[in-house]
Symmetry: C2
Subunit: 519 residues, 2 copies
């Protein structure tokens, strides 16, 4: 009896064992009377605890599929329940189903899900998205722009113009690559940022998250290697893990991804691509230095490895000016560039874009056809009009100023209130402060205490591929006005202080953040 | 030397062979001087034409990776080009890259794509979506509602209300499951249609196409069986094929899917699900009879197989009244139900929904997080307002009437003008006439002739999983006003007549519709 256990799945081992034996019994590959291995022996063969086997057998017995007899061991039942009668039918025994009302058994959905589906469990992302609308708490978790600065008045006029123009094409199906005038606008807009491309090389996405999903579809087989800096964007980690990628990580320092550590990874593993967020990295806030950018490109060229540059934050710089994107430095089309309106304007329209070489765009387009046919025509038309009227650039000037003030507010509140041992980075742009908790304190402990005070954040481990980051937290400063930031930091520091003065709980720091099923 | 050829891929065999040998050479698994098998022998080992091997060797030679010598055969080159010098580096030979400017070779993207990506090629869908906006031709291809009946005035007011309400949450991130008031509205609306559910069981999708993609992610492993009626919706065929599913097909008759042929398939293959479009099926227009619906559910219950009910058209009935959906008849939660606003209101907002048991919804939600985080908040808020004001039901009464007239217009034009041998169905609802061409005529031939006359349609084979449907075409009657329908049918019948009176071309009927790469 050959079973395949996968420890990377969410499904507990005992259920994996139960499900597989169940299938073997139902498919008659284990016949009635077949003796299952003794628990202890089976446990050692499979390399699991004996309890795991006990639990699996217990479930199978509850299903009526096996029976335990003292002295005789555990054997496959000879009389299968009515659920399974159709298998008798298959083996040629006459059955008058359809005449007698057979009780319908509930669906065992758990037996139907794909491995990919099991790999999708991403509790942090889920809880961040669910928290939206919970008004009684201050969230530094969600990385979203400030609603109070949304240009609603301008957008209302734009919407009015687009809808009442009587042009029904704004509500019609559209091309998978996107609304051409918007692609054209983005191409021109990027040119001002040193990325020289054309509308044909720009594809509209339903948010840049979709770009990650499409790239996973187009490039990744389960088991493929990719490279990411660590820590990194949790939405990307989730997608690439779900696709079954093996993620090789490279640490960062103040200058960004440590290219000196990258080369041997590229040489040894030949990854499908390098995913990087070079400017105002999420969550670290790091900005990759120019020499590192050049070195990264050189390595990509040398080893023929594509780079996926995720660039949601580069327009939100609060010191100096725009950094040159990898795409703008790339002379040999190795960079696939992802951009989005979600951080610079508003996220609710779900509009992003991708700039890539023709072959890649063609494959992404074929994938997008299957995924959602195309991005909403209506929102694309509105965004086009908004941009063409020069309102995006105006808005950027405004929010750069606001977010700089908000960052400074958060930093000075921390400087004033932070308990000893709490440290943080001050990024030159983007949305986040990346903080290190006082020695010995775990983000999970703080999250619970902070919840009592109606303040939340993202615990650092969510951004790590390998175990790590449990002593880190990410604070987003973009979302709330100054007064709320001050109040939030006050509550947070209070929570930290209370933990510091509490008697240290014994060995509870490693408990899991979320309730996973436990065997 | 072991090569793996996959005939289901878009990549021609000669390129598959070239790519794999290339990889072996670059990875040093085939050393310089290694003699490749003689062409004829290799061809017979691999079961391909000799030309295929000749082409593959030709490519490798052009890359400088192999050399042909008369008498000596074909051997791996001893001097690899500068492209591949880093492999020398790997094997320990000193290399001063970085000091000498090495010429950067263009990326060989073709070597990076996943198998899934290769399976995504769907030229029909691509061409249908690209044709949008080509104003000079009449298209009966795209299955879209009539733009002239779009309720733009009402929607303009709604848009104005939503945007100018000053509620920035309409532009903010939202929950993955969707905007709660819209889920609530859909639940109530479905109750009037016999589907008794609640907001918690309704999930908003970026069009029902997204539902198909998410279901593929959540349920399908490459090699899994699923069941579809044949012919079926081409967007579904595309997604499930890309996911690597093995599609088992069941034919239909006037009463819909032949449930009498279904049982042995379920018994033998235990598919992951049955995908069906029971009401005004696309492309056949068939409406599954009540007894077949009950029989289908009975079989699903008996064999514990989920049903995916795709139901975009049931509200568009032109005779009698609404048919009971499978979901409304399902007492044991075996049915996953997909609905959409795209056919009943307008498609450009990309809004659909899914009703499913909690476990399935949970898995779909986890998948959707990765795919696009959530559907556009802005369009959801607008749609909610539109529906809550009772405008959807008003709109439906209006379009049912219009589309009935359009269907009748197309049918009577065909009755009047159709050349002998052309036959068609008259569906009780939906969007399509499903036509059989005069004996011997192929849809591909007609498509070319029709293009000359600026009229287009979808050739029948696009809806078939197995080879078939080449003598069928699908005509969509919903999109154009009566005058255009009349003119389109006139052109179409003219094209058919011209082919009928032409001398029959020799053996050209099987040529491929689209330019696939040929070896």
């Amino acid at each position: 009896m050959e079973l395949h256990l996968d420890r990377s799945l969410k499904t507990p081992l005992y259920l994996q064992i139960r499900n597989q034996i169940r299938q073997l019994i139902l498919a008659n590959e284990l016949s009635p009377g077949f003796r299952l291995p003794p628990e202890r022996k089976f446990a050692s063969t499979l390399g699991v605890n004996r309890t795991t086997i006990v639990n699996a057998y217990h479930e199978l017995e509850a299903d009526g599929l096996i029976q335990s007899h003292v002295g005789k061991g555990t054997i496959v039942s000879s009389s299968l329940s009515s659920t399974d009668r159709f298998f008798d039918h298959l083996s040629g025994i006459e059955d008058n189903y359809g005449l007698l009302p057979t009780p319908v058994q509930p669906m065992s959905w758990q037996n139907f899900y794909s491995r990919q589906s099991e790999r999708m469990y991403n509790p942090v992302l889920a809880s961040i998205l669910t928290e939206i609308g919970e008004e009684d708490q201050i969230s530094f978790a969600l990385g979203s722009p400030a609603g109070e600065y949304f240009p609603l008045e301008e957008f209302s006029q734009i919407g009015q113009q687009v809808i009442s123009s009587g042009n029904w094409q704004a509500f019609e199906y559209g091309p998978t690559m996107g609304h051409y005038p918007l692609r054209e606008y983005i191409a021109t807009w990027l040119a001002q940022r040193g990325i020289h491309t054309q509308a044909e090389r720009v594809m509209i996405l339903s948010g840049s998250q979709q770009g990650l999903d499409l790239l996973a579809k187009v490039f990744l087989e389960p088991g493929d290697y990719i490279v990411m800096e660590e820590p990194s964007f949790l939405g990307a980690i989730g997608v690439f893990k779900a696709a079954g990628a093996r993620i090789l990580t490279v640490p960062m320092d103040q200058e960004g991804l440590r290219t000196d550590l990258l080369e041997q990874i590229l040489a040894r593993h030949r990854p499908k691509f390098i995913y990087t967020l070079p400017t105002f990295q999420n969550p670290s806030g790091h900005k990759m230095s120019l020499s590192r950018r050049q070195e990264l490109l050189r390595l990509a060229y040398q080893y023929h490895i594509p780079i996926v540059e995720d660039d949601p934050y580069s327009e939100l710089y609060y010191e100096g000016k725009l950094s040159p994107s990898l795409k703008s430095l790339d002379e040999h089309e190795h960079v696939i560039y992802l951009g989005t309106f979600s951080k610079i304007l508003f996220p609710g329209l779900r509009l992003g874009w991708c700039v890539a070489p023709p072959s890649v765009l063609e494959h992404l387009t074929l994938a997008k056809q299957h995924v959602d046919l195309h991005t909403s025509t209506t929102t694309q038309w509105m965004m086009t009009e908004f941009c063409q009227q020069g309102l995006l650039d105006q808005h950027l000037i405004k929010v750069r100023n606001h977010y700089r003030i908000q960052r400074d507010t958060m930093v000075s509140a921390l400087t004033k209130l932070a308990p000893s041992g709490l440290t943080w980075s001050v990024p030159e742009g983007g949305y986040y402060l990346w903080c290190e908790l006082p020695p010995g304190m775990k983000a999970a402990t703080l999250l619970t205490k902070a919840a009592e005070k109606k303040i939340t954040f993202v615990p650092g481990n969510a951004f790590f591929i390998n175990p790590g980051g449990t002593d880190r937290i990410r604070l987003c400063f973009s979302r709330h006005p100054e007064a709320t930031i001050l109040e939030g930091i006050r509550r947070l520091c209070e929570a930290i202080t209370e933990i510091l003065i509490q008697p240290r709980p014994k060995d509870k720091t490693n408990r899991p953040l979320f309730n996973n099923p436990l065997v």
